[in-house]
Symmetry: C2
Subunit: 570 residues, 2 copies
Amino acid sequence: MLKRHLPILSWLPHYNRRLCGADLLAGVIVTVMVIPQSLAYAILAGLPAVVGLYASLLPLLAYAVLGTSRTLAVGPVAIVALMTGAALARVATPGSPEYLQAALVLSLLSGLMLIAMGLLRMGFLANFLSHPVIGGFLSASGILIAASQAGHLLGIDVETSDLLPRLAEIARELPQLHAPTFAIGIGTLLFLLLMRRRGARILKRLRMPASLAELVARAGPVFAVIVTTWVTRRFDLDAQGVAVIGDIPQGLPPLTLPGFDPSLWQDLLVPAFLISVVGFIESVSMGQMLAARRRERISPNQELVGLGGANLAASITAGMPVTGGLSRTVINYDAGARTPMAGIFAAAGIGLVTLFFTPLLYHLPIATLAATITVSILTLVDVPMIRQTWRYSRSDFSAMAVTIVLTLGNGVEAGIIGGVALSIGLFLYRTSRPHSALVGRIPGTEHFRNVVRHDTETSSHLALLRIDESLYFANARYLEDTVYDLVATHPELEHVVLICSAVNLVDASALESLDAINARLKDSRVTLHLAEVKGPVMDQLKRSDFLDVMTGRVFLSTYAAWRELAKPST
Amino acid sequence: MLKRHLPILSWLPHYNRRLCGADLLAGVIVTVMVIPQSLAYAILAGLPAVVGLYASLLPLLAYAVLGTSRTLAVGPVAIVALMTGAALARVATPGSPEYLQAALVLSLLSGLMLIAMGLLRMGFLANFLSHPVIGGFLSASGILIAASQAGHLLGIDVETSDLLPRLAEIARELPQLHAPTFAIGIGTLLFLLLMRRRGARILKRLRMPASLAELVARAGPVFAVIVTTWVTRRFDLDAQGVAVIGDIPQGLPPLTLPGFDPSLWQDLLVPAFLISVVGFIESVSMGQMLAARRRERISPNQELVGLGGANLAASITAGMPVTGGLSRTVINYDAGARTPMAGIFAAAGIGLVTLFFTPLLYHLPIATLAATITVSILTLVDVPMIRQTWRYSRSDFSAMAVTIVLTLGNGVEAGIIGGVALSIGLFLYRTSRPHSALVGRIPGTEHFRNVVRHDTETSSHLALLRIDESLYFANARYLEDTVYDLVATHPELEHVVLICSAVNLVDASALESLDAINARLKDSRVTLHLAEVKGPVMDQLKRSDFLDVMTGRVFLSTYAAWRELAKPST
């Protein structure tokens, strides 16, 4: 019981020196690798860069205690930072104390919601974000993030925030671009793309061991940060107008208490919920993938608690919403992390940096960070997946297309909500016309098949209608129409048997429809029967008076109904 | 084609003197009967009484031309009037010109939406209002309407509009009630209740022919109007403070043009949609019931157009939103109407009243109308239905309870939206855990049944998993878990066969899950097969590369899979 709620108890007692060595190495590597990321995502959310570091301290400890994945690394991630920025910009001005305060409230709400969902075992809610909607959302978010970074990359001050006006403004201002910034930004971008696409291969050709080559190639952003910071400092480029990080306060994060302002809390409820769900999906799907590779298992509901704890921790240490991040987790995993202790070591490392080394980051150009973000989000734009979805199902594709268009045009929240609503709507529409088939007997057997597709024996006095879906409010009326049409077109009918082998549910609306069908058939002197009703459905029907008023009987099998009612005519 | 869009063409050419006689009588009776109703519902919506008469003129002609029901009578009805009042009160002050203008815009929007839904064949949208939600909504609306009339009945000026504060205010002010108004209101109420419950029986005992007795009993409101108006006039009760209808402008309605004010239109979009859908459901369910009795058929999509036309007509003749009304339709039907010509005659009759007889209505007490409304909405509160739903299904009951609570506490729109959202949510939740069963062979046959419920032959190397629901985003993940658990608990497994006989759909998310299952089983050296895949599902799977990467085969029948893969161990 205690172990289920405090997963740390399942590994800490068996912790040993061998595990510690592996985790320590991973912790050091993660520390170095995630610093540029953490700064960049804080800026993406419109927050001071240092907030990204603060959000990589206590939240890691909280997750290490509460989370079930051995290798997941939490912290600020691109999508959540984008959603955070969009939510905060609506309630406060970037740069103001209210904006910082709102970020804390957002973390707090998100933390509380995640924990509540975990304790109430509501992880299933994430299933309602279908793959096409998530895929479309990530692709569109990637484009939004790239557009948000374009100004930093080129050294152009952009004022509009909507996608199309922003792109137009950038195009208009292109002649005024700031050459040194542009050189740093585009240079870093090309270098990072090269490292990502070819780095490992080139290093291996230079006789570097494969695993080290992979790691070094992934350290591209770290080299870029070191080199561009040094160049900027050496040539005083910040005096010439290259935007740099500047002063970062030294020391551990202050303890903060998110204030209670009912109207602010209310405004942030929906964004906090969406951030929680999206963050959870990103985190848990990666956690499951990595756990599967090592034949471990994670518990989605406890993961909610772990991520919730991490966000609560962020809210009391001047942080921002966090979740399990793709790139930092892959770094952690590849660097050989074995237990969440690696996360604790990384937190310690980032703590040391925050305490002593932030002055070194003064000359780090914003353009370098923009290039880092841009390259890392390129993987989000998944064109092959879009093409596959188009080929596989127009209906899934339309949910995806709506998600993309709404995300690009109306923002991240509209995109998710619209996509989910449409995919639910399409599903309901599809089930609102339940598949049904008239069946006949395969001669000489007890099998019954669709009369259209098979050579069957039928009786003109008897209609055997197999219903292929559960009956509920959205499709009950359609069943009525089907039966009425059947009776209207078959004047010799005396018996209609509804074969319910695929019916798992008859809700109150469908019960009304069955009642109506029974009454209407009675008026037409046709008897209504049921066959192959499942146990739970039968139990429920017995709680109404339908079975008493039904004109016919309930048969255990279709064959029993046939034997009793058919007067074979073919 | 023309006949489909102008149903009048299907009956007018065959119109004859016999039909005309029947329709004329019905038209006269409806004229007399619906005048109190029409005035009362206009007042319920916060509009001048005369608007109710205007809304019973041109809309009837429009429906006669465009509607498919022979006997449906359109006009202002209680629920729609309640919803209209709630929507208008949010955008304008009752009594102001803006309020009247908003009523026209609401009718126009509702008309346009109904016509659009009809032309786009979207009548199925109405199916998403499940029976429990409609039932709960009508019951709660009945209570709201009764509460809104209580002040008029008792002669108390009530200022609050929310249910509980309103009841509290009435209770507090009870000692100040206006005795003459109270006498008229409660007297009328008791008289109408008596007529409704016992009227026909008493009259029949007095040797009146049965059909006439029914009609006279239903004319209770007309007698009440005549008597109380006469009493009020005779004893100058209006001078003593009994509220009366007062001056009603004489003459036909003015032609009006709903103005275009974007922000007003936007505010009224959602209410107009809800009014359209609720009005359509009330109207079409009654139309179907009556059509069935006479073996006629109505077309739901053309009904949308007919009701839409009626609302457009209301919007250009100073009216209010209308729909097919329960009580006026029953009166029309029982009075012997045969064709929509009866509606045209009724419109002509109400036109005559509006032209010449409105001064007679000057002394009609508001309390009489309040009593009329109260008695007629009592039928909406359907306690037995609530009890049955509770017995039949807790889940349906909870949707109903939420609808009732939200309607009473937060208003009609919150009630409907909340109820629909919850019933959809509950359905999705139920399907999000698809039923599945391990099946085994009934020895010596080709039949396979649930191993838990039947005595079956199984093989420890082979799992036959029957999936009882379509696979889509909300339940795909659950299937993954089921299969993984199966493999984890059966170490000897070599083959898993998913029996897809009940799967009508595999959407893109479920396809990803199948892919994931296949990959995970491959890692565990277990082969994945499918069996009994339906034709359309197979066609769709072929559009992806799943069948190429799947480790196993697709079997036509479970028995074929068994023959191939089983090494019987029991």
